[in-house]
Symmetry: C2
Subunit: 340 residues, 2 copies
DNA sequence: CTGAAAGCGCTAACAT
DNA sequence: ATGTTAGCGCTTTCAG
């Protein structure tokens, strides 16, 4: 594993070449104020001529920062990775970081070995902060990071008592307004296909569903609830189950648009007309853009806001040294696409 | 962006605490040989008691290595990210790295700014090597990395004259054997849905298709070729096009299983029976595992081998300092799933 | 505005 | 087998 990169010029060589002190070169490459314009140019020419590139290890050591943050994916179900929601989040985080000079690193943590490796990496100072997504209920990683006092921001809470900083969508409100919308259409036999219930977000959406029913004076029944794992296939299965147990169903709140698409197929296979007989609403997971399905009404999650908010919280924690946790809950929006 | 992590014990403090020299502590944390068992234990206890974590910036600076490699995704079409092939590759690379102590970092390069940022990151020594996937014909990044003498391995060539180290599948041979298989079934009107033709792999597959026809004394015609971008939707479109231009078609080589699935839908929509009227073969992109479609015959790409080979080449280059490029072409395998 | 000097925390070569 | 020492290349006071 020996590595040598000979002939790499150092800051000192640049200084000599430009006939200035090392401090001046440092100021120039860091765009620090207080350098005469002519000197600055001289240094820049020297940098060009020598092909100088700052050694980031040295910079890290002296400056005590890495200028990098990690986005960790702990999803035990690795398929999650292939979901559009995921890539949209990554894109929005990338956008939010563009003019900070901070490098975004994605890392996978699938086993204990990998968790340990990553912890050493992060605690060793190779990143200034950590972003976590799709954290399941019992995941210990957030606590380990918190204990190491590493700035950390979660996408979604692990539970109602989450303390580590997080950004979440208003899942309860979103589900409630979706179901209320169905009820306002005169539908009275509304079911729901939830996400995996060890995800707090899925629990919240279920709660929203129940609240909306309660507000309308209706009763939620366990038989009207089926669980999925956000995939189309599981949506298909869950829907088939619901139709069987609950034949006069007339509305469905689905875990995601992908799940909703699966549900649609099952409904059609069972001879139901959509949305005349049964209306389906899913949580937006950004799969619709690539789908040819008829437009569904969806609960829109504000992806851009999520990315921006996560980065903002992380930068704040980096600034002041992780002395407090902050929480942001973003409003969701019901986007009505069909008119029944 | 100020960052302080006070109270972090250093190697020196561990040495004092354990009443040994710093060198000894260094040997212990690096599992170096030649430390008496009792001292080793004493040092380990001191490490525990102080909660010592090595500073990786310092280690990098002194040891001239980062113990990390980057997997860069340059895909202009960001959707690629959501493809199963992609996540399978990531998984296999992760597996190949598990017992090397090397951290895998995924980074996205979607713009010039990001390319520049990444280059500084890599040239700055934060990674020991770079893996690139889905590199398009004109991508300058491999050359820039080569110029910086950074160990680099591509997944797939940019062209037939690629010099930078790469691991590729035998696309020509795979396509040829798939088409030959169709011809052996007595099919004589075989078409192909290619991938994006600025990808060398797609060109190779097209060549394999043509070679198989030529070997059978048949002529390839441009009208029997349609282009896709690996998605199901584009497969559907391409297939519809082919049927229109070429109604008596009886076999198709598709760019991927996902494309093939789209093609199937189009075929059925046009009233063709599969595989009786038309047989479809796709290149395995690992989407089949999550699909309920009837099993297709596929050209299997050896994912595990690809990951292992890429890591092996990279480690070799890291070892000897990128003085030579190496190329590996892995055999593909026709997996026959239906019997017609 | 600029130069000099003191570390940052570790590895590796050299003593012992 | 273990301690000592000299850097690794940069940032950041502190003088000037």
């Amino acid at each position: 594993m020996g590595r040598r990169r000979p002939g790499t010029p150092t800051l000192e060589e640049v200084a000599v070449h430009a006939r200035v002190g090392r401090g001046t070169v440092s100021r120039v490459i860091n765009n620090a104020a207080g350098v005469k314009e002519s000197t600055r140019r001289a240094v820049q020419r020297a940098i060009e001529e020598l092909g100088y590139v700052p050694n980031l290890a040295a910079r890290s050591l002296a400056g005590r920062r890495a200028d990098a943050v990690a986005l960790v994916m702990t999803e035990p179900d690795w398929r999650q990775f292939a979901e559009p929601f995921f890539s949209e989040i990554v894109r929005s985080l990338g956008d939010a970081l563009t003019d900070t000079g901070i490098q975004l690193l994605l890392t996978l943590v699938r086993s204990d070995t990998e968790r340990q490796r990553f912890l050493e990496y992060a605690r060793g100072g190779r990143v200034d902060g950590v972003l976590l997504m799709s954290v399941h209920a019992g995941d210990p990683l957030p606590d380990m990071l918190a204990e190491a006092r590493l700035p950390t921001v979660l996408l979604g809470r692990r539970s109602g008592e989450e303390y580590v900083s997080y950004v979440d969508a208003d899942n309860i409100g979103g589900a409630r307004s979706a179901v209320s919308h169905l009820l306002r259409q005169g539908r009275r036999r509304v079911a729901t296909i939830t996400g995996p219930l060890d995800l707090y977000a899925a629990q919240c959406r279920l709660r929203g569903y129940e609240e909306a029913l309660a507000m309308a004076g209706l009763e939620g029944e366990p038989t009207r609830v089926a669980e999925s794992d956000f995939t189309a296939e599981s949506g298909r299965r869950a829907m088939a189950e619901l139709i069987e147990r609950y034949p006069d169903i007339d509305g469905v709140l689905a875990a995601s648009d992908t799940t909703a698409a699966g549900a649609l197929e099952a409904l059609r296979a069972a001879g139901r007309r959509v949305p005349e007989d049964v209306a389906v609403i899913g949580f937006d997971d950004f799969s619709l853009a690539q789908r040819t399905e008829p437009p569904l009404t969806t609960v829109r999650q504000p992806i851009e806001e999520i990315g921006r908010a996560m980065i903002r919280l992380l930068l704040e924690e980096m600034e002041e040294g992780a002395v407090a946790w902050r929480h942001v809950i973003l409003r969701t929006e019901l986007v009505v696409r069909e008119s029944t």
